[in-house]
Subunit: 599 residues, 2 copies
Amino acid sequence: MRTVYSGLVDEKFIGQTVTLYGWVHRRRDHGGVIFIDLRDREGLVQVVCDPDRPEVFNTADKVRNEYCLKVVGLVRSRPEGTKNDDLISGAVEVLCQDLEVLNPSLTPPFSLDDDNISETARLTYRVLDLRRPVMQRNLRLRYKTAMAFRRFLDEHGFIDIETPALTRSTPEGARDYLVPSRVEEGCFYALPQSPQLFKQMLMVAGFDRYYQIVKCFRDEDLRADRQPEFTQVDIETSFLTQEEIRDMFEKMVRGVFKEVLGVELANPYPVMRWDDAMAKYGSDKPDLRISLEFKEITDLCKDTSFKVFANAAAMPNGKVVAMNVPKGCQLPRSEIDSYTEFVKIYGAKGLAYIKVNEKAKGREGLQSPIVKNLSDEFLNAVIERTGANDGDVIFFGADKKKIVWDSLGALRLKIGRSEFGKKAGLFTEGWKALWVIDFPMFEWSDEENRWMACHHPFTCPKPEDVDKLQSDPEHCYAQAYDMVLNGWEIGGGSIRIHKEDVQEKVFSALKITPEEAEQKFGFLLNALKFGAPPHGGIAFGLDRIVAMMTGANSIRDVIAFPKTQRAQCLLTHAPAPVTEKQLRELHIRLRNEHHHDEQ
Amino acid sequence: MRTVYSGLVDEKFIGQTVTLYGWVHRRRDHGGVIFIDLRDREGLVQVVCDPDRPEVFNTADKVRNEYCLKVVGLVRSRPEGTKNDDLISGAVEVLCQDLEVLNPSLTPPFSLDDDNISETARLTYRVLDLRRPVMQRNLRLRYKTAMAFRRFLDEHGFIDIETPALTRSTPEGARDYLVPSRVEEGCFYALPQSPQLFKQMLMVAGFDRYYQIVKCFRDEDLRADRQPEFTQVDIETSFLTQEEIRDMFEKMVRGVFKEVLGVELANPYPVMRWDDAMAKYGSDKPDLRISLEFKEITDLCKDTSFKVFANAAAMPNGKVVAMNVPKGCQLPRSEIDSYTEFVKIYGAKGLAYIKVNEKAKGREGLQSPIVKNLSDEFLNAVIERTGANDGDVIFFGADKKKIVWDSLGALRLKIGRSEFGKKAGLFTEGWKALWVIDFPMFEWSDEENRWMACHHPFTCPKPEDVDKLQSDPEHCYAQAYDMVLNGWEIGGGSIRIHKEDVQEKVFSALKITPEEAEQKFGFLLNALKFGAPPHGGIAFGLDRIVAMMTGANSIRDVIAFPKTQRAQCLLTHAPAPVTEKQLRELHIRLRNEHHHDEQ
């Protein structure tokens, strides 16, 4: 066995003969002596191979990068002036007494010190990519984070209970991955999108506190930074109120960030109603590192002669919103023009703005293509409401509220996170966590021509809204809560429905007939009949949290063997064709047999 | 929030007003007072509802079994003579001051105290079944066991790294569960049978010590006590020898048994070569609680005139084996006759035996249909070799070795574990762990007409056998090891091949061509080219271990939501038909469209 990891050989070992295992990170010949930087998961140590020991020296002469070695040697101080403070082992070196090549290596297709390797190369040679210190660090931090979650949950009486991976297709969810059954011809399992129904049933079964760090699956197009399989810290508890749940889990996340990164998150978290988050930031996951805020001016626009504003204000669901950007006059004209194109991505037809050059001068001090269409009163009111000062720019969104929120919300992030935003003091580095609560119960789907559940159909409405579920679904709010960090939703949950009659009302609002409900969710409805306790829970996205903690650009950098955007594994070449015999056993065939012949 | 779990209210709480949540386990009206046994996951407490408080009493009057309640009340001593030593709360009761029905319950379809509920009812009403204290205990013991594994592994530098669930179909394995790809028409993912190749690649990537408590999948017929998805404690390490690995993981399992059950396993474990285990017990997972052993007598049978023995001894791969059963003369004749039928299940043609009534009398003291065919010399030699005493019965197996091992091995378990075996002192209660090592590399498959890997094709042969891989595969042994407990294989592993040339030789012995190898395992072969470290590992079957620890009859009793023997979930009715739209998106159709129409 090794004496110690290479990367941990320090002054304590001076004078000792140690056995080390690792890989050649670098090898150099310097004044007739060969130096090998031996690397293992804990870091590097310098191994010195002296020509005095011809056997060792001759072996060392032959080794190349990424050879796997066993080294026996004497730890000694490095000569004065050659210490390296960046390494734990930087004050010592190992005088090699015995050197064994355990396995040679071809020349790697890329240097492990290169930070600009193409992702295709990285995923194809994932084994070598994972040797890079940054990937070692990412996956170890992931482990440390997961264990910190486990420790908290264990200490608070939560029990890890495994729920099935082969389960039933989820109605009302995203697209399922299906698994054909061999035994039951024509039937399919689905891989779980989340253990939602199982964890609720565990509460009905009286386990009281459940958790699981569990793979979930969604067969969706991977436009954003998503993976077909992702990992959730999945939690459910009985008999706690929403406030008690939020309190417990912000404490958990604070503890994890403190333990893993040494970072202090807000205590307590700010809590923001969904309505307020949308009104102020155009987003249900506001990035509070950015100080920019919206001000609604719909009321000011009813009588304006500027049609764009007046029409938006008159529309059902229309809105006019202003966002003042302090020091925005420093933005070059070309930048402001590019914003107009940017907001179009989100459906906006254009982007009105006013540069506030010198507000004391009245409209003369304002610069904008639209000023001529606006009255003095309106301009004064806007300046007052937004608190704009000289040198600021006010941007406007005027459209259906969703378009205004999306477009101006995205612009807020773009400006806030830009170099300009950082220089202008609109952005504060750090970690800004909050709760967003009181989500709407339903959102309208044009595609389905019915109300859909915003969270999922098992979310409990606020008690005062139970009677409005049918009559006014638009204004029903849910006992749902999201944990938001720096503009990402890192966790979300809700109090669940534990009363059969309330569940039936929600299904009815969703236009799910009792027959459908029975067929799709009969097992849950049945469970609610037998003394189901009040319960609720939350699920955290582990991949995202760890990506944020490590500063990774993508969740692919915190997953050992991720898939590409086409859901392929470049290492193993999954998915792949299978044999005709396999398909026959599963009672299926390919629609296009041609594809089968190609294999 | 609750003050404490109901089951944990003890004398410390006397005089306190507590808030409890739980379910009505029993309710009885006794002398005008209503007593409710309130149950939660920690146990029961007695709640007293007095007619003095009409509101409480009237509510209590209406509650029934399995109602979910909130109770506020004063903890007091139970009256003398009514204490219950079986309960933690047995010395106290809670005088109810406020009683709230959180949810009523229908009358459960079975009593939670019933130990003879049909498995169909239990799986259909799994939520209620899981409320039964035995199931609560089983799943909590499972959690405790998993956490004990994690703690050991964490303390020893192992890192939990998640490997993909959507991966590539495994050649050389059992039948895969397949997942059709929507994006890559005609292609399929497979669910992993184990993370074998990924954990090896993590070793090549330098993570050094890996673990994962992970779901694995095999689409096999569930004759035995198996599940389509099962959970493995999966482990891999670099740079350790077989002995170091065995030493570490017997220490782990000893620690887990000590922590969870307070049981001491052997230290160190006995280590038995596979050849010896087969010769002595006819099994590679011998139950060492049973003292019965085989003695080979093939050499004595060459010249015997008893054809059954002489023919078996002369067969290639033939064997004659004797198993002495002390005090076997106490077995009724009918029992011995039933053994003849029993061994036929395993392919034996019959079961020869000799009752040793009085060995001093020579052949006169022996009773058996076959004695007349056997010489005095033979009989004396058999009695000497088996060490049979007066009152014993010697059973014989004579056939191809596999049939002898299987049939006499099964008989050994049957007799050893029977009431007779226990009375006759052939069985010692307790926990008998051992290692079985030096497994053969290959076993011949008539079906495939080639040698197949006994463990898997990545298992390292013993160094002295590398050169015999082609010329004498039958006599090549593997650096493989199984951990066996009370006749069950609870873990198995091996040192893996880390040298490309050895891997090629093994593929060649398995008649896998270089082209096939490249196509199926190219990513592993490629990884071996880049300084792969010596490595090895082990995987433990968590379901089986926990079933043994809890004394459960089936692994289904330690899995929250198991499948039936037809791989169905009776609770959610998975697998189930899916829509035509779903199939189209996956580019597949049913072979028999009729099945589709039925949904």
